[in-house]
């Protein structure tokens, strides 16, 4: 009997924590722009790309 009350309290407080996390994420602007981050994460790191680019350029010139 008393154990169920304890469980309820635990589950409720966990749920409230999630609600607060949601509140925080909303306030910090994570829902302001839902498109750009999805693209941004696919951009390659610069260092690798630049060497490729130079190669391409050289080939273009010799053609």
């Amino acid at each position: 009997m008393s154990i169920i009350i304890l469980l309820i309290l635990i589950s409720l407080s966990i749920a409230i924590i999630f609600l607060l996390i949601f509140y925080w994420s909303m306030k910090s602007g994570q829902y302001d722009d839902t498109y750009t981050p999805s693209v941004r994460m696919l951009f390659e790191e610069k260092s690798k790309k630049s060497s490729n680019q130079k190669l391409n350029k050289k080939q273009g010139v010799t053609k």
Partner: protein, 806 residues
């Protein structure tokens, strides 16, 4: 010299078709602007820009060097910067040209182009870029200049910044209310399960704990989540009006108080699951309806058309040495000398000091042909200068000019809401009276049979009467419709516009930019010229600044490298020059020696090579595609066409429009506005389609004002909706769709009334148990939502079946 012409050649940078004269690294370019951007990027190892998307660039619009100098003025700088210190500054620019992945990539790699930039971040949805930079290393104006040089010219508006923020804040609070209601609803449901399963007999104490937890969870919903409804109901109650929120609020209050009473007195488990569920559904509906196009602005006034700053002659300068300083337009006073450059807009009514100037008034009057102004004549604010820079003397301050006087019209003063009683509110008023009557009848009946039950029954009636399903019908129908329209490139300001669109019975068009393409007249050559000769004509016209020459030059893609000898321009007649020993003349019929008569519906430019007339260019305004079919289907609903232009196109227009439609020319902005309000006095619901500043009064006055534009990034006047130019041929379909939206809403009303009737029969007979309420209420809400969503999509598919969805 021969020119090779490949027809499928496109610019590597912007994808526009181009001639093959500009090459760099095996890539072709349409103009030096595009090539320059490519060179900047390739020299900085930023060519990934071209790998992410094909032809990601936009064609450069000419931006003079000093355009952004005013940004370094202290006051302006302060207004624009989001954060400023000696070593770190942050600025947010609105960049309408952002349109693809490549744009994001390039704008977030700005630090590779300019050392002083620390970091830049793009918000694609709002089309903004936020730049952190070191103010001691790079000036704000050079940041803007850099963006402009890359084809991402920022639009700077000193007022806009404080305007955009509140809407975002509102959106957030709605989201928070929604999330809290959802959270409480879910948990209340869990605690109500034992009740549904009939466990209350076995463990009464546990049940009581659950019930008290339910109260605890419902309090935030009651106090916070539904506060919009309560506030709106209270407001309209105070004004002795009944809108849809009044019966909702009454129902919600009855539901909550009755449940608290039941639980506190131990009478029963209450209806908290229904209560939180209803609020949750209502908020979802509201959220769904709030689809906004954040990057579009619907509420512009004249200020957004004008330049922010101009060059003014410094008063205390020495004679012979001219010293110009940038100054904010609003500080201009009568007598100030200002300098306006090519493609810039004249900010205030002023007198011309130079010999002559060509002014394009299409912004103000809709007339697309530039007007020649001579020394000492008045140039009205809003005109765009074409050609040589000129010096002007300000006659009137910007706020008092000819153009801005339009904004002092009453139309722009009165608030917008009061105009229209929404369908849903009319339904709610009738509904409320019915419920009131029913409650009284029930109360009388139960008072006579069993007086102890009266209060319980009455609250039950009020609970079921809460017209949540009714309230959900409109948001979901219109919300879905907004999305359908958005997919078809008609962007509406809000859901109410759809309802007003449905009642439209008169449509009025503007001509330039709406029925016709604003900026691209159709150029046709009649006669015979070889490719080489065409290239000569193009080269020759390139030497002239006359608007017609410029048009011809722009429309012939072939370029010759031949040198023009003996170029001469004869004002009012034409131009001449020698290319490869061939004497070429372009201009009027008399100038070139052409003697037959032509109909004068369009402007013509004749070409004579070595004294022989070879043909002529006819330049006519190009009518948008599909518009004739659309006007045919629209029939006599099309009330009129109002044009600021001269009658040159009257013949063409009369073939397009329905015979009953009035064709009016030489209309000033005030004439247009008055025409619309006269129609409204005659009891018509008017839809106005226009594009320019000259239509803004009419757009605002009309019941539905739609701005037509080819590029949603450029400025549109204040309006209810923005329509992509190539979609204007579907206007009649959009109107039909809006009409069926109201039919769907009415069908949804019938459905929700049915549920209400069933629930009321339970309540009146005294059988509304919490279990019945818990099943019936969400069921009605969900079925209404499903019905409207499915209906809108089916109707949209049927009505728009021949339009490819983009």
């Amino acid at each position: 010299m021969e020119t090779l012409v490949k027809t499928d050649l496109t610019c590597y940078h912007c994808g526009e078709p181009c001639d093959d004269t500009l090459w760099k690294d095996d890539k072709s370019f349409c103009c030096y602007g595009c090539q320059t951007v490519y060179e900047i990027l390739s020299s900085n190892d930023l060519c990934e820009y071209y790998d992410l998307e094909k032809n990601p660039g936009t064609q450069l619009r000419y931006v003079p060097e000093e355009t952004y100098v005013f940004l370094d003025e202290k006051d302006i700088r302060k207004k624009i910067l989001a954060f400023d210190s000696d070593t770190f500054s942050r600025v947010q620019f609105y960049v309408p040209a952002i349109h693809c992945v490549s744009c994001i990539w390039l704008l977030e790699n700005l630090q590779k182009l300019e050392q002083g930039i620390l970091r830049s971040e793009v918000n694609f949805v709002q089309k903004t870029v936020t730049i952190d930079f070191k103010p001691q290393a790079v000036a704000l104006s050079s940041l803007a200049k850099l963006l402009a040089a890359l084809g991402y010219a920022p639009k700077i508006n000193l007022d806009s910044e404080n305007k955009t923020k509140p809407s975002v804040a509102y959106d957030k609070s709605l989201l928070l209310k929604l999330s809290i209601a959802g959270f409480c609803f879910g948990n209340v449901m869990l605690f109500s399960f034992p009740e549904y399963l009939g466990l209350d007999q076995t463990d009464g104490k546990l049940m009581q704990i659950f019930s008290w937890l339910n109260i605890l969870l419902s309090v935030p919903v009651f106090l916070y989540s539904d506060s919009d409804y309560m506030a709106s109901a209270w407001k309209s109650f105070k004004q002795r009006q009944i809108n849809i929120d009044v019966p909702i609020a009454v129902g919600l209050v009855a539901l909550f108080l009755r449940s608290v009473w039941d639980i506190v007195t131990g009478f029963g488990p209450g209806y908290m699951d229904s209560f939180t569920g209803l609020v949750f559904f209502l908020l979802i509906g509201r959220w769904f309806q709030n689809k906004t196009y954040e990057s579009l602005a619907f509420d512009r006034d004249f200020k957004s058309y004008f330049p922010l700053a101009v060059l003014r002659l410094k008063k205390q300068s020495d004679i012979g040495h001219e010293d110009w300083e940038p100054v904010v337009v609003y500080e201009l006073k009568k007598g100030d000398q200002i300098k306006v450059r090519n493609m810039e807009i004249v900010p205030a009514d002023s007198l011309l000091l130079d010999e002559k100037a060509f002014i394009d008034y299409s912004f103000v009057t809709g007339e697309s042909k530039p007007v020649q102004v001579n020394k000492g004549e008045l140039i009205y604010a809003g005109g765009k200068l074409i050609g040589q820079p000129v010096t002007l003397v300000v006659e009137k301050r910007t706020s008092q000019s000819h153009l801005t006087s339009l904004w002092n019209n009453d139309t722009f003063q009165k608030p917008e809401e009061s105009k229209y009683k929404r369908l849903i509110d009319r339904a709610a008023r009738r509904f409320t009276w019915v419920i009131l009557g029913l409650s009284i009848v029930t109360a009388v009946y139960w008072y006579n049979t069993d007086p102890t039950q009266v209060w319980l029954i009455i609250t039950s009636v009020l609970i079921v009467a809460c017209p949540c399903a009714l309230a959900l019908t409109a948001p979901f129908t219109y919300g879905n419709m907004l999305r359908v329209f958005g997919r078809n490139k008609l962007y509406l300001k809000n859901a109410d516009v759809i309802e007003r669109m449905a009642s439209v019975n008169a449509v009025v068009f503007d001509k330039t930019g709406t029925v016709t393409h604003g900026s691209e007249p159709e150029i046709e050559f009649t006669g015979e010229l070889s490719d080489e000769e065409l290239s000569w004509v193009s080269t020759l016209t390139g030497y002239s600044t006359h608007p017609l020459s410029k048009l011809i030059h722009k429309n012939i893609l072939r370029r010759s490298s031949a040198f023009v000898a003996g170029f001469k321009e004869f004002p009012g007649k034409g131009i001449e020059g020698n290319l490869h020993g061939n004497f070429i003349r372009l201009g009027s019929a008399a100038f070139t020696g052409f003697h037959e008569r032509l109909d004068d519906a369009s402007s013509t430019v004749f070409v004579a090579i070595n004294g022989e007339v070879r043909g002529y260019f006819s330049i006519r305004t190009a009518v948008r595609k599909n518009i004739q079919n659309m006007l045919g289907r629209l029939g006599d609903k099309c009330e009129a066409m109002l044009s600021g232009d001269s009658k040159a196109d009257k013949v063409l227009m009369s073939t397009l429009f329905h015979p009953t439609a009035q064709l009016l020319f030489n209309q000033s902005p005030h004439d247009k506005l008055n025409y619309i309000s006269n129609l409204q006095h005659a009891g018509k619901k008017v839809m106005m389609l226009g594009d320019g500043l000259n239509d803004s009064g009419a757009l605002k006055q009309s019941d539905v004002g739609i701005a037509v534009t080819d590029d949603t990034g450029v400025f549109t006047p204040a309006c209810d909706g923005i329509l992509q130019g190539d979609q204007i041929g579907n206007l009649d379909r959009f109107l039909a769709l809006a009409k069926s939206a109201t039919t769907i809403v009415k069908a949804g009303f019938v459905l929700s009334f049915m549920y209400n009737a069933i629930a009321l029969s339970f309540a009146i007979s005294g059988h509304l148990t919490p279990l019945v309420a818990a099943i019936l209420m969400p069921l009605s809400s969900i079925s209404v939502v499903v019905f409207t969503t499915v209906a809108v999509n089916v109707v949209a598919r049927r009505k728009l079946s021949d339009i490819p969805l983009g």
